[in-house]
């Protein structure tokens, strides 16, 4: 297997792994930039996986119901459900002035427990498997471009493009509008923003709800692209924490997180598909499996020192 073959099989799946992490990190970006530390991305994403799975399974069971429509509805439900769960974190962090790290951990545990609880009542087991996810498609015209076309535009999921558009829109919203400036200022000097007549609590609610929105979308993407099932046993394997690490590694900037999540996506691909490539065949599964987490720690060592964290993140206002 030549280098080109390896590359052309790694890149598309690396993109597939990147997108959910990117959405999780983007959600974290909104929340932390508005001044609320959000360690419950993991729980929110898991909730997204579960609610999308439950919805899609129910809809796909209806005879004659369009599979694509079922997936679209599933994604929307996932986003709404995760927003609802993130509301709990927002309420604790903003109104109750709780310790945000603990509240985030509580949400993570709550999400694991509640999804399993509901899965038990719905299907009687800890797993929900959907009949069919999204079918990979080539992007018309663009996939004909040599090299780039093969790597980035063949056999892609439509959710990938949706997520990238949302990422671009978020960059614009956060950096080019007065709303974005206010949101970011709430994470730096909330009292200054408040004295300028902006409702800090409202901005923070928006930030946390946005993190629910994007994490839910990310979770749904995991389900409808590569996973295909909600599995209570493994959950989402710490992907939400990888997203937080990517956020730190990306220095709380949209372009930064795009780069760092792609790096993690590549690591995940190597971990999960390593056995396919002759280069990695002799490495035991255990070491391949821990590779993304070790890489994350190393990445954090280099990026955490000069941390550009929002000043007021984690401080109740």
């Amino acid at each position: 297997m030549g280098f080109w073959n390896v590359l052309s099989s790694i890149i598309p799946s690396a993109i597939a792994y990147t997108i959910p992490i990117l959405m999780g990190a983007l959600g974290g970006l909104y929340s932390e930039r508005s001044g609320v530390t959000n360690l419950c991305i993991e729980g929110l994403m898991l909730f997204g996986v579960f609610s999308a799975a439950a919805t899609i399974v129910k809809l796909q069971a209806i005879p004659g119901f369009s599979f694509v429509l079922a997936i679209v509805i599933g994604i929307i439900v996932a986003m709404a459900a995760s927003m609802l769960l993130s509301l709990l974190h927002a309420f604790a962090a903003i109104n109750l002035k709780a310790n945000q790290v603990i509240s985030g951990t509580a949400i993570n545990m709550l999400s694991t427990a509640v999804t399993l609880f509901l899965a038990q009542t719905i299907t009687g087991s800890g797993n929900i498997t959907i009949v069919r996810g999204i079918i990979r498609q080539n992007v018309p015209v663009l996939s004909k471009i040599p090299v780039i076309g093969t790597l980035f535009f063949t056999s892609t999921y439509w959710t990938t493009w949706l997520c990238l558009i949302l990422w671009g829109a978020s960059w614009f919203l956060l950096y080019k509008t007065s709303f974005g400036l206010r949101l970011r200022a709430c994470g730096e000097h909330p009292s200054a923003v408040a004295s300028a007549g902006v409702n800090v609590h409202r901005m923070r609610y928006i930030g946390v709800l946005a993190s629910g929105f994007f994490s839910g979308l990310g979770g749904a993407c995991i389900l409808v692209t590569y996973a295909g099932e909600y599995n209570a046993g493994s959950g989402i394997n710490g992907l939400g924490f990888l997203a937080i690490a990517a956020l730190i590694f990306g220095q709380w900037k949209p372009l930064g997180i795009l780069g760092s999540t792609f790096f993690f996506g590549l690591c995940m691909t190597i971990a999960n598909m390593g056995k396919v490539f002759p280069v990695f065949q002799n490495i035991p599964t255990g070491y391949l499996g821990m590779f993304p987490y070790v890489a994350t720690l190393i990445a954090l060592i280099f990026s955490s020192r000069r941390s550009a964290a929002p000043l007021a993140s984690g401080e109740p206002f």
Partner: protein, 406 residues
Amino acid sequence: MGRKTVQQKPLEARKASPLVVSLSAVFLGIAAGCLFILCIGKNPFAGFERILFGALSNVRRIGNTLGMSTQLILIGLSVAFAFKTGLFNIGASGQMLMGGITGSILAYYLPLSMPRIIYIPMVIIAAMAAGALWGFLSGLLKAKFNVHEVVSTIMLNWIAYWICYDFIPRFIIDPTISVKSKPIETVHTLRADWLTDLTQFSTLNYGFFLAIAMCFVVWFILQKTTLGFSLKAVGSNRFCAEYAGIRVTRSIMISMAIAGALASLAGLTYYCGYSNIMEMGKMPNEGFDGIAVALLGNCSPVGIFFSAIFFGILKMGRGSLAATGIPTEIADTIIATIIYFTATNVILASFWNRIFHSRFEKKEEAAAAAMKKKGDHTPVSSLTKAQFNEYAKEGRALLKESKEGR
């Protein structure tokens, strides 16, 4: 003479104690659990009755509950210890795995003829060393590289998970069931014949006494040693501690190492006492439950002991829920809800403070009325508590009379 000059503490409203706050969190958590059970159309009271039945109805079940609580006490201590230094150790699961795998490998390879009096201290020390290393790593990352300990401990959890995934088949696999380790011989576990006989083959083992001993050790370190003082100083104000000459980075590393050692001890009791096998690809949930134990116990050893017993009851008792048709995950839901409410302890405390305050004000009003009638003009604040209560009682009756008279 001397007695009279002692300044009397001014009378004031009662403050909400940590116990009251914890109990309200438990109450709210259980209420949320009831709500969930009602949502799926089942009877919550029957559910809780089953939980209590499953956890406490005979000697064996009580033994099992204590066996489960053993891990929870140790993890609770681990989380609490890190918490006192201002660190949040959510890597107890990984530290448990490290302790468990070390203990299991030693149990597998050390000769069975080895006297237990040498064997047991040896595995305890080895497991604690492994966990201390794991905790130390995240402490090092935090102290030297400013890596948030929540993220680093989670990453280390998964690294430990994959290490076990690799080590179990490599060193201690049971060839007949290729996803589990070979069961450890009883003489190499922490179980004791007299405990097993006493509790009719429950999972209770020496670990329970180890956990109680650790409660004392943690209390001693935190309350009676300079090390404990400097750790707490770092926890309450890092910069102030630094200014006072305490080496903050060193404290962070030591604190995480001790926390890791405590959690790995939990892993040892879990994998080589409570159970005797390790499964591939399984992350122990107890690591996260320990957070609840520590928070609910207000990070004090005594509180942790009792909250661990409480969670032990929840976790063991849920096995009996099957008959009622309530999913057993209700226990985890309740635990998570309790953590959520302990996170908001400021609000719970202020809620109770407000209630205590308004009750105190009413009492004050009544006492003032009674004093006015009696013509006593000493200010309320200089009364003793007994006098104050006396007046308040009289006053309440007075106020009631006047209300009825009107």
